[in-house]
Amino acid sequence: MSPLLASVGAETETAFTMPSINYYAIAPILILFGAAVVSVLVEAFVPQRGRRPVQLVIVVGSIVAALAVTIDLRGTRLVTGEGAIAVDGPTLLMWGALLVIGLLGALLMAERSIDPLGDAFAPRASALPGSEDEQEFTRRGFLQTEVWPFLLFALTGMLVFVASNDLLVMFVALEVMSLPLYLLAGMARRRRLLSQEAALKYFLLGAFSSAFFLYGAAMLYGFSGSVSLVAISDTLSAKTGEGSLVAIGIALLMVGLLFKVAAVPFHQWTPDVYQGAPTPVTGFMAATVKIAAFGALLRVLYVSLGGLRWDWEPMLWIIAALTMLVGSVVAITQTDIKRMLAYSSIAQAGFILVGVVAASPQGLASALFYLVAYAFTTIGTFAVITMVRDASGEATHLSKWAGLGKKSPVVAAVFSLFMLSLAGIPLTSGFVGKFGVFAAAIDSGNTWLVIVGVVASVIAAFFYVRVIVLMYFSDPTPDTASVVIPSAFTTIALTASAVMTIALGVFPQWLLDIITQAGVFIR
């Protein structure tokens, strides 16, 4: 009998022991997951007309409850579920950020008074674009309320993704997070061909990248005999040889994670998906996926591969530099504002990577601050884009934004604030974030990377400021879009993100204190 079968035989004789799980520590995940399941049942049993209010109550209630538990868990630092889930300072911080941003995203998705036809989603995603069925569904005021379970499942996946302490949980969470987002991307009410195309591209490329992630995990498992991040790290420091398995494993794993953060050269999906997806979904996805993916990337690099720092750092230096430069330069040539912001998000991913490759507690803290600041600014930016419209829907072409400052001064001022924050101008959150990552990089000796980063920031400032100039220093044309007054949903989300953008720029200390207390990843 082979040793493997012998060991299996021995195990079946012993009694089954329950895994030890601290249910309270993972309560935010359980609440959201339970709410998502209930939300699916609502789709099955509640009549069409009553679904929207019920779903809204479930979504907002569960996110607020999960947030309350997350706040109550502060200071927790433990590994539970037989080492599968790590609930530590950075996890809780990212949970908090994901839940708040998720709530703002839910508010944007709930908005119904901007578009005269209804919310941002197709009345029936299955109806052919432009068909009589579709017009009939629109006329009857049908709503695709399945977007709410999708939102909750995606958010659950993100919470697990940033807390996962082994590669199997991380892979499952990656898929739970991504699959609902692929579908949400394809559900826009207007410009449905673009939306469906975005969903197809997002899905095929996303599945491709997660296959890379999985194969990388298989290689690391082959090397260390475990999928646990800590065990992989221990094996790496104990065992020499079989270097090719480790190198291939790390490289493939990084492809999967860097795809999700939209780093060059794995960024090709970003502009298409950001442009084609319904704008509230773009805002939600741009902000939360960035947090979740960077959370997982940081944990893998710090917990599992910290001992191999010298091997992966040069690779990430090059990727960070390329990401900043390509994102900034290509954004200049864009004429569609959603597409421009997609390239801007690629450039921002590069700036965050500068903090990640610093590979120090300071680098971790600066990356976390940057992520939170970026997420609030981003969701606010896309909230404004949902409101700027013309007869055919959202006016995303930049030429239609000319003179908006004279037509709608308040909205233009808020949008300028977000642009200045993304450009990293002092007194906005973006400045504090950029300062943090560059300071961390200089402390760890990556001065050349900071120089590249500053050059990229200058290039990026050009296209951010160009939008402001376009809004204020040109006269409104007949083509200029007008701003639709939204209901309380969008107003709350927009106000919250604008307040946070200023608050984190003028008084960043409270968040910096929270991040300092959060400390580093548990091992």
Binding site: A125, F203, F208, G276
Partner: protein, 99 residues
């Protein structure tokens, strides 16, 4: 038979899948190639489980099968929607989003 042969086989299958994704033009075939990559990873996991003498890899393979099934549901839904709109499953035709 030496289990490391199966690792080599899985690497071959993974490469065939990756090349399939890059060169094929039909969305269904591209998607099949992605599934081939996932199954190649499964084969690697199971072979390594044998080589390492523990069961973790086999457990992972079961999880991956479930995830792959969920991915099929979502993927085919998206591909069928595109097919009904455009009467074609070619991934070259949806080309409205570019530059």
């Amino acid at each position: 038979m030496n289990p490391s042969s199966y690792v080599v086989l899985s690497a071959l299958l993974f490469s065939i899948g990756a090349i399939g994704v890059l060169v094929r033009r039909n969305a269904i075939v591209v998607f099949m190639s992605v599934e081939l990559m996932l199954n190649a990873a499964n084969l690697a996991f199971v072979s390594f489980a044998r080589m390492n003498g523990n069961l973790d890899g086999q457990v992972v393979a079961f999880f991956v099968m479930v995830v792959a099934a969920a991915e099929v549901v979502v993927g085919l839904a998206i591909i069928v929607t595109i097919f009904r709109t455009r009467r074609s499953a070619s991934i070259d035709e949806p080309n409205l989003l570019k530059y």
